[in-house]
Structure formats: C-alpha cells, structure tokens
C-alpha cells in the first residue's frame, strides 16, 4: 500500500480543528498548554458555539492564547479572569464564557476572584492548568509547587515550614455550593486527552448550572528543567499522587 492510498478522506480518524489559528504556538515543545487549547477548540467546534463563545486569557504562559484560538477573547489582568467572566456572562447570558488560567493566576494572585466566582455559582467554565510552577516568569515557586520540589525561588526545594503548603484549589472549590462539576484531568497521553475532552465537553454543556471547573495537571518541562519525556514521567510519579486525577464533584445526573 502506498502513502497516497492511506491519506484519504475515508481514512481520517483525526484532524486539526479549524478553530485554531495558523499562528505557530509560542509554547515550549512538549508543553501541555497547546494540547489543552486544541481540546477546548475541538469542543467549541463540535458544539457549534464559536459565535457565542467568549474566552478570557490569563497572565501566564497562555497570556497569548487569543493568538491561537479563533474566537472572541479578552485578556485579563493577572488573576482576574473569573471577575471578567462573571460580568461577561451576567451581561450576555446567552453566551458561553470560559476562563483559561494557570496555577499562579488562579490559585495565588487570583484566589479571591476564583473562590467568589465559584461560590456565587457564575455560569462559566474555568479551565485550570496546574503545572506546579510559574512558567512565564521563569520557573518561580507556585502555590501548587510540591513539597521538596525545586523552583527558582525555592532552589533547595519547597520547604513547607518556610514557604507554606501547596494548595489543592480544586478540592477547595468543590466544597462551594456554586460549583456544579469539578474534575481533575491530564493531557499527557491519548487516553488522558480523551477523558479531558469529555470533561470539557460536559463542562461547556452544563455551564448554565454553575461553575464547571476543570483542572488539568500539566507539565512545564522548561521550568522543571527536564525533557518533555522526563517531565511527563516526573508528573505521573510526583504530581499525580498529590493531585490525583478524576472527578471530584459530579452532579447527580452525570
């Protein structure tokens, strides 16, 4: 069989969503941000909601998300995306509104906005990329940095006596009455990608019921100073035990 016999319409099992722009992504090779972007756009395409979706980009490596996603987007100040999304949704109730935020953005500087948007039950989707570090600014300690884990501002590893404990934000928001669906997923394997896509689809479909919160435990191979392969392995061995994957709050219907 020749290659041209294989590359045929009927054989397509997967194709790039048309809702990603042609702009080359600025993420490091191996980084999970790009995969997460793709999944969200696939869901928006499949649901046919491009014209009714408004996204909010954070401050962090994904600050330029709007360069890659072919939807109307706003860029928020560091940590404030849930406040923007609150107003966007309340003033435009017919729209689908989501935020895309890193752990520094969502769980440090933006903690108040995250907790209160979740507690009020804003009808939005929050996609939370937890890579345990500040990627954009060069690998400083994040609120989610694991005990003992090295970062540029804890070069000898996170000493919880000195620096406090990592924050499991997703478990925290699951306790709030305003969250509807809370889950923790990953995007480092095809199986993980499929599960995450299902979760994000469910989140978008159920946003009218309150905050749908999807954490994606991801890598930062640059910040962790590893190869992409090492980073994924390290993530499985160290991040997943502390941040176990799976649904945390599931509505009864699900």
């Amino acid at each position: 069989m020749e290659i041209k016999d294989i590359i045929q319409e009927k054989n397509i099992v997967y194709k790039r969503t048309s809702l990603l722009t042609d702009k080359a992504m600025s993420y490091c090779p191996g980084c999970g941000h790009g995969t997460a972007h793709r999944i969200i756009m696939e869901v928006i395409e499949e649901m046919g909601i491009q014209s009714s979706t408004i996204g909010v980009a954070p401050v962090g490596c994904s600050v330029l998300a709007y360069e890659f996603l072919d939807i109307d987007m706003q860029q928020a100040a560091h940590g404030r995306a849930p406040a923007l999304a609150t107003a966007i949704k309340r003033l435009n109730p017919e729209k689908h509104v989501f935020t895309y935020q890193g752990d520094g953005d969502l769980a440090a500087i933006g903690t108040a906005e995250t907790i209160h948007a979740c507690n009020r039950g804003e009808k939005i989707v929050i996609v939370f990329i937890n890579n345990g570090i500040y990627g954009m600014t060069g690998g400083q300690m994040a609120p989610t940095t694991l005990p003992g884990m090295k970062a540029s501002t804890c070069p000898f590893g996170r000493d919880t006596e000195l620096m406090g404990n990592p924050l499991r934000m997703t478990e925290l928001v699951a306790h709030l009455p305003g969250t509807y669906f809370v889950t923790r997923q990953a995007v480092h394997t095809p199986v993980a990608v499929r599960k995450t896509k299902k979760a994000i689809r469910f989140a978008f479909e159920n946003a009218e019921n309150g905050v749908n919160f999807v954490e994606i435990v991801s890598n930062c191979n640059s910040g962790w100073k590893m190869t992409p392969v090492q980073a994924n392995k390290w993530m499985e061995e160290n991040m997943f035990p502390f941040y176990p994957l799976g649904d945390i709050k599931v509505p009864e219907k699900k």
Binding site: D70, Q74, Q75, L84, T86, A87
Partner: protein, 359 residues
C-alpha cells in the same frame, strides 16, 4: 416636564445610571459612597431596566468585572471612594490600555491610607495624571452639585464611548452626601444586542462568520508596536481638548481669580460675595473637566488679572496645573485644607488678602 426629586449626590448617580440605560454596575461598599450600591439595589434595576447590579468581593474584582462587561460593548460602571479607587488602579490602567469605555465614580475622602471618611480633593493627581501604571489619562469630570452628579453620568458614558476610554467622575464626600433638588432625565432604553454590535464593532460579542475575531488586550510584547499603540493613545488624549469644560463667575472686571473645582468652587462663590462687599474684585474659574484641564482659559485670564489662587481640599495638587498654564506670568498662590477639613469662605478671603493682595 422633567421629574424633580430631592436626592443625595450618591443616590442621584445611581438613579441617573438606571435612567441612562446603563447595563451594569459593579461595586464594593465604602463610605462616603455606599449609597450608590444601596440605592441601586433598592430600585430592583433588574426589574426596572434589566440592568445588572452586583456587589463584588472587592474593588479589584469590581473594576475587573467592569473590564469584562465593557469589553463586550456594554455600558458599565463602578463607584468607590479613595482607598477603593487605589485598589482599582491596576484595572483602570488595563482598561485605558485596552481602550475600554466605562464610568468610574470617586467620591473622594481624606487620605493617605485609611485617612478619614470626611470629604477631600486629595485624589486629583491620581485622577488626572494617570494613577495606575503606564502613560495613560482618564477623562475627568468634576461635579459641583447633585444635579451635576446626575447629569455627568449620561455625559460621562457618552464621552467614554466617544473616546473608547474610561471616564472618571471626581466628586467628594460633600457632594456625595448632601441633598439637593435634582431634575432627572427621562428613562433611556438600554441598547439591544444588535445595537451594541453595531455601535461597538470592536467588542467581544462572539465571532460571527462575517468578521475576524475580536481581541481585547493591552498587551503587545513588541516594543515598536507598543510605542505605536502609545502614540495612538496620546493622540486621543490630545483630541479630548475639544471637550474641555469650565465655568467663570465674576471674571469680567476681576483683578484676582480663584480657581477651584467641585464643592470648593461653591465655597469660593460665597467667598467672592464677601470679598466684593469689601471692594476686592475677585472672580472664579471652575474647571468642570480636570482632564482635559482648561489651561487655555487659565492662560487667557492670566493676561488680564494680577494674580490667581488655587483653592483646594488638598495640600496643593491642581495648583500645579494652574502654574503650568500661567507659566510664571503672574503670581499663583495656593490655599488648602487637608484631612477632611473644609475651608470656610472667610478663611479663603483672608488667604487671598494675606497671600496675594499683599500684606
């Protein structure tokens, strides 16, 4: 006939916002402006016009809600008082950078820090020179009556959309709290979504097949592009000059001029009566827009009078703009009270005599 009511300045702001067809208000309580949110809530605006009113978890959240709403082309506003306005500064800078229209009301109280809940004008620099980071300006309106509190809401929104820029109403605790008669505008309908899309083709209203996606951001990592963006902003700020506003009283035969805005301008009017009864020919220039500042008018008056005195409830802030406009041609003096103290007409006249006329 227009409806006439006796209202507090803060209530007038709130009622005028509903009547101007505002789509959203986001705020956090702080004295002396909490009546804005209280009054709005008492009116059930979601029933009256469908206006969204939300008590945010902080001023930081409130201004960022304003950002989110404004970026969808909606008419949105917030109000606060000095410490709360300081918290909003990051968000205001982002809105200036992203060129988003909105209305921000500052009912100023004395500072620095937690300061006092008494009235002050000590946020003039913050309002007119930027306040947050970066080279930006707000369009700043200074009301001197409850009527103007109401009128400036609609006018402020119009200016905000004209320039795609945040507009600030810089009021103070006196005007916010005092009650006066106010003539209210008729209810204006809120814009329909189709009207919003037409009026704000730049807004994030959802990407439709007939246009490219809309992006609201203040970021451009390329310095040359960021400089170009800054130039666009600076040109806009210069253009605002065409909307400069001021009022003069007793200036025709005046030998001396008081310059004062907001509630102090009214105290100066009383001071003028006292001074004139003693044969001192003094007039008043009241800037209504603090940015753009009526520099040309100040310069023109400087060719006609012997001296000017800026009277403020501050340690001397607007006086710097007066001096820039006068450019050394005549003496410019300053008289001010701080920390929530209000100058009396008599002490203003005394200051005029001692500092300017000569002793």
């Amino acid at each position: 006939m227009k409806e006439v009511k006796l209202m507090k300045g803060n209530e007038a702001i709130a009622e005028a916002a509903i009547r101007a067809g505002a789509d959203g208000y986001f705020g956090y309580p702080i004295t002396p402006q909490s009546e804005v949110l209280e009054y709005l809530m008492s009116q059930k605006p979601h029933e009256r016009t469908g206006m969204v009113v939300l008590q945010a978890e902080s001023e930081v959240a409130a201004i960022n809600m304003v950002y989110g709403g404004a970026a969808t082309g909606k008419k949105v506003m917030t109000s606060s008082s000095s410490p709360g306005i300081s918290l909003k500064m990051e968000g205001i800078s982002y809105m200036a950078g992203a060129q988003l229209p909105c209305l921000i009301v500052n009912v100023v109280r004395g500072g620095p820090g937690l300061g006092t809940i008494q009235p002050s004008q000590s946020d003039y620099f913050q309002a007119t020179k930027g306040g947050g980071h970066g080279d930006y300006r707000l369009f700043v309106l200074a009301p001197a009556s409850v009527q103007e509190m109401a009128d400036f809401v609609k006018q402020g929104f119009d200016l905000a959309f004209k320039y795609r820029n945040p507009v600030m109403i810089l009021s103070d605790g006196i005007i916010g709290q005092m009650m006066e008669k106010v003539e209210l505008e008729e209810q204006q309908p809120r814009l329909t979504q189709a009207e919003v899309v037409k009026k704000c083709p730049w807004a994030t209203t959802g990407k439709t097949p007939d246009r490219e996606r809309n992006i609201i951001t203040s970021l451009d990592l390329e310095a040359s592009k960021q400089e170009l963006h800054n130039k666009v902003l600076q040109e806009k700020y210069e253009k605002m000059e065409e909307d400069v506003r001021f009022e003069t009283f007793n200036c025709d035969d005046a030998e001396y001029i008081f310059i004062a805005y907001g509630s102090v301008a009214r105290i100066c009017q009383k001071a003028i009566d006292i001074a004139r009864s003693k044969g001192i020919k003094v007039g008043l220039l009241r800037p209504i827009t603090l940015f753009p500042f009526p520099s040309k008018k100040v310069a023109e008056l400087a060719t006609k009078v012997k001296g000017m005195m800026s009277v403020e409830m501050s340690a001397g802030q607007m006086v710097e703009d007066v001096k820039l406009a006068v450019n050394g041609k005549i003496p410019v003096e300053f008289y001010g009270r701080m920390g929530g103290m209000i100058p009396s007409p008599e002490e203003i006249v005394r200051a005029l005599k001692n500092q300017l006329i000569g002793g």
